[in-house]
C-alpha cells in the first residue's frame, strides 16, 4: 500500500505541551508518549482536556507551547494516523462511497476498493449498508461507519474521541468489539471516554487528565486497583471533580 508503510508515527511524544485558546489554558505542561501496544485510554471529567489532547496528537491543533513529535519528527502529515470524532461528519454520499473516499485519500488502487470496502463494512457490522446514504444512518451506525472509514486509511495509530458517548449499550458493544479486534491487529488505539467501565474493558494504559494537566498515568490495572493520586481515587469512586 504505497510508501506509507515505510514510515512510522510511533512513538508520539508530547514534551511540555500546552494549549491556550482565547486566553484560557486548555492543556498545560503535558509530557507523555504513546507507544505501540495495548490501547491507551484518556479519562477525566468534562473540560479536562481529553479532546484537545487528541486533536494535538492527531496534528489538527498546534500546541501553544512545547513540542510534539511523531516517530521522532515534527510536523508529520497525518498519513499513518486516523481519528474518529465524537460526532463524525459523514460525507453526503453512500456509506460505501465514504469508505472509498478514505481509500482514495491514501492512494489505494481503485481495483480493490470494492473488496476492501466490503471487508471494512463487514468488520464494523454494516454489511448490506453500503448503498445507503451515510447521513441517513443512525448515530451508532454512523459511528461504526466512521470507524470503518478511519480504518480504510490503514492507520498505525487510531484516535477515538468518546466514540460511544451517545450510543446505546448494543451500539457501544459493537464498537468495543471492533476496537478489540483492531487492537489485536497491532493498531495503536488512543481513546477518550467518560465511561469507567469502558476504560476498564479496553485499556492497557490510562492517562488521567484533570484541569488540562496529566494527573496520573500508568497501567490500567494499577490505576484502577490503586490510584496514586487523591483525584484519581475520587474519580474512580465516582465523586465529582470540580
Amino acid at each position: 500500500m504505497t510508501m506509507l508503510a515505510m514510515t512510522t508515527d510511533l512513538p508520539i511524544a508530547f514534551e511540555h505541551v500546552g494549549v491556550v485558546a482565547g486566553g484560557v489554558s486548555i492543556l498545560s505542561d503535558v509530557t507523555l508518549r504513546f507507544h505501540a501496544g495495548a490501547p491507551t485510554i484518556l479519562i477525566g471529567p468534562n473540560g479536562s482536556g481529553k479532546t484537545t489532547l487528541l486533536r494535538v496528537a492527531m496534528g489538527l491543533l498546534q500546541p501553544s507551547n512545547g513540542r510534539i513529535t511523531w516517530g521522532g519528527q515534527e510536523r508529520v502529515a497525518p498519513q499513518r494516523r486516523a481519528i474518529v470524532f465524537q460526532r463524525p461528519a459523514m460525507l453526503r454520499r453512500t456509506a460505501a462511497a465514504n469508505i472509498e473516499y478514505a481509500l482514495a485519500s491514501v492512494d489505494v488502487s481503485r481495483d480493490i476498493w470494492k473488496q476492501r470496502t466490503a471487508e471494512l463494512l463487514a468488520m464494523v457490522g454494516l454489511s448490506g449498508f453500503g448503498e445507503r446514504p451515510a447521513r441517513k444512518l443512525s448515530g451508532g451506525e454512523q459511528q461504526r461507519l466512521a470507524l470503518a472509514r478511519a480504518l480504510a486509511r490503514n492507520p498505525e495509530v487510531l484516535f477515538l474521541d468518546e466514540p460511544t458517548a451517545a450510543l446505546d449499550p448494543y451500539s457501544t458493544k459493537a464498537i468495543e468489539d471492533v476496537l478489540v479486534a483492531i487492537a489485536a491487529k497491532n493498531i495503536k488505539i488512543v481513546m477518550s471516554t467518560h465511561d469507567l467501565g469502558e476504560a476498564r474493558r479496553l485499556a492497557g494504559d490510562i492517562v488521567f487528565l484533570n484541569h488540562g494537566r496529566i494527573a496520573e498515568t500508568g497501567a490500567a490495572a494499577d490505576f484502577f486497583n490503586a490510584p496514586k493520586t487523591s483525584d484519581g481515587q475520587r474519580f474512580i469512586a465516582g465523586e465529582l471533580l470540580i
Binding site: M58, L60, I83, A89, M90, R93, Y101, S105
Partner: protein, 231 residues
Amino acid sequence: MSNLVAAFDLIRTFDAGLFQIIGLSLFVSLSAVAWAALIGVPLGALIALNTFPGRTFTIVVINALMGLPPVVAGLVVYLTLSRSGPLGSWGLLFTPTAMIIVQTLLVTPIIAALTRQTIEDAWIEYRDELTAMNIGVAARAATLIWDCRFSLMTALLAGFGRAAAEVGAIIIVGGNIDGFTRTMTTTIALETSKGDLPRAIALGLVLVGIIIVVNALAWSTQRFGARFSGA
C-alpha cells in the same frame, strides 16, 4: 379575450418567429449560466476555503453585485464593446455574444455568492474530517463542490431565473434586432409598446412557464438531494 386566444394560437401552431425568439432566449441564458457557473462556482469555493486580506470586503462586494441593476451592467458592457471602447475592435456589440457577456456579468455574482455560502457551511462541518484525512486544497474544493452539488444546482437555477427574466441589459447590448438579438423579454417590451398584444402575451406565458419549470426543478433537485445523500 381575443388577444389571449390569439396568443394561445401562436403557441399551439408553433409559430416560427415565436419559437425562434424562445430558442435564442434559451441559448443566451443557458450559455450565460454555463459561463457564470464556470467562473462563479470555483470563485465561491476559493473564497469559502481560504482566508486572505480583504476577504470580508470581497464577500460584501459579491453580495452587493447580486443586486447589480441590469441597465448598469448593460451600460458597462456597452461602453466596453462599443466602437470607441477597449474591446470595440472585436465587433461584438449588438450580437448574441454581447448578450451572453452581460448576462454572465449579472449571474456570476449570484452563483459565486450562493456557492461561497453553501461551501463555507459545508466546510465548517467537514473541516476536521478532511484535514484528518490529509486532503489537499484542490481536492477539498472538489469534494465540497461534489457533496454540495444539489444545493449548487439550485444556485445555478436561481441564476438562470435571473438571466431569463432580464431585459434591461440585453436590450442595451443586443439592440433588439429582429431575427438576430430579439429575445422573449425584449420582444414583450417592444410588442406591448406597439400594441401587438397576442405575441407579447404568448411570450409572457412561455416565460412564466419556463420560470415555473425552473423552480420546480430547483425544488425537485433539493428533494432528490435530501433523499439520495442526506444533504
